[in-house]
Amino acid sequence: MNEIQHKFQLKLAVAASEMLSERVAHIVLTDDRPLPAMRPGQFVQVAVPDGGVLLRRPISIHDISEADNTLHLLVQTVGRGTHSIASVKQGDEMDLVLPLGNGFPDMTEGRVLLTGGGIGTAPLLYLGRRLKANGCEVTFLLGGRTAKDILRREEYEAVARVMTTTEDGSDGERGFVTDHSLLGREQFDAVMVCGPTPMMKAVARWASVPCYVSLENMMACGLGACLCCVQKNHEGHNVCVCTEGPVFNTNELEWK
């Protein structure tokens, strides 16, 4: 994880873009030249097309396909910025700064639980793919409000075992991911989580093994320059989520 990695500002072509659900777009980007190497858990800063919004928007790397030189993003429409991003069309150009942040730890063995809720599942696909290739035993535990929120299930299934929970019971076990029977049944060597803060905190409370979370603090630069995105660490110091994270071992955080 510590080799020097360069950042780029690139204009990438939209190879495909489709709405996976009412609120989530799957955007596939490509380029004539090989895309830079990226690590699971890193993110990109996307310039919002159409100019109605000033700052870039941070979006996780959902998947990378080296075979066809593509970068995949999942974007959930929240406000103006994500609405504009989600409406790009095949053939459009997008301006990205990448790759940013540190990723999840690059484990090479052991049983790893990858869990997330809603759009928070986005970074887990590429992460699972990588950990699997490294030799880990991977389990996905994906949560959503309802069945429709479990996105791109086949792709996750192609990588590893997939469990789900939904709040309304329409897919998998009813409840939150922390309610899943699996957690009482099996042991893991590490847990990696991405989702709403209350969910990540609940997972962290449950976990007795190293627990890694991916934070979504508001960002301006994404480069460690503006100090807007800080999180208090366990020593009470403000650290930049964009450069020292977005992934943290929960032990490093001052989390109540």
Partner: protein, 301 residues
Amino acid sequence: MTLKTTIGAMEMRNPVMTASGTFGYGVEYADLVPLDRLGAVIVKGTTLKAREGNDYPRMAETASGMLNCVGLQNKGVEHFAEHIYPAIKDIDTQMIVNVSGDSAETYALCAERIDSLEKIPAIELNISCPNVKHGGMAFGTDAKAAAEVVRAVRKAYHKTLIVKLSPNVTDITEIARAAEAEGADAVSLINTLMGMAIDAERRKLCLSIGTGGLSGPAVKPVALRMVYQTSRAVKIPVIGLGGISNATDAIEFMLAGASAIQIGTANFVNPHVGAEVADGIEDYMRRHKIGDIRDLVGALE
């Protein structure tokens, strides 16, 4: 054609500087913009002692702008001198330190420490930060207080001294004249306009300390007006900033009377903007047959 620009005793290859607090220590952007295309980099606000800054959330986006209340988080001037300076001193552009304090004395002590750093040709005195309780903007909104700080720093610091002014005042030219009278080599303006954002649904202030500093394209008209007024009120060079996002914006500031310009928020939007602005100014000079950048300063018809 020459873009060479002189501020006090400092020479820059062109008038394009990056604004404090928006460009880290320069190294953060090294992959994305050739630093040697910039006239100068102004590094993060530095104080005598380390500061944690304000709590998160520290920023909110607004129409064509953003609010921040970072609150001068930094590890103190000693840490800067020992750990950061060695790593940035050989960057091929002018590296300027932005200095803050909470009393004339702490400003002066911080400046004095930086005076000893060979490769730092200038400091920018931030008497205009709206995000800290003590000091900061208080010095920038009162001509007497401003004069006092500049006087103390001028005694302690012997290289080029730029004083950064607050726009949150009735008459910015009064503060500029006070800084000039106490020996400032230049003034830079504007720092951020004090603003606020509220989340209506959650009925909460968006920033941890309530208020923050507004920057970005939204403030450009105010900045341009203040640069115009100030450049007519003082004889020292005026460095213009506030909302500059492209070469046209930069040229507008120079026409209004700025001898050099700074780019802040736009670095977040387009990290490459500094080089693009430098190129765009060159292109403009070519098209308008201006041989020396100094002939662009204040050159309204």
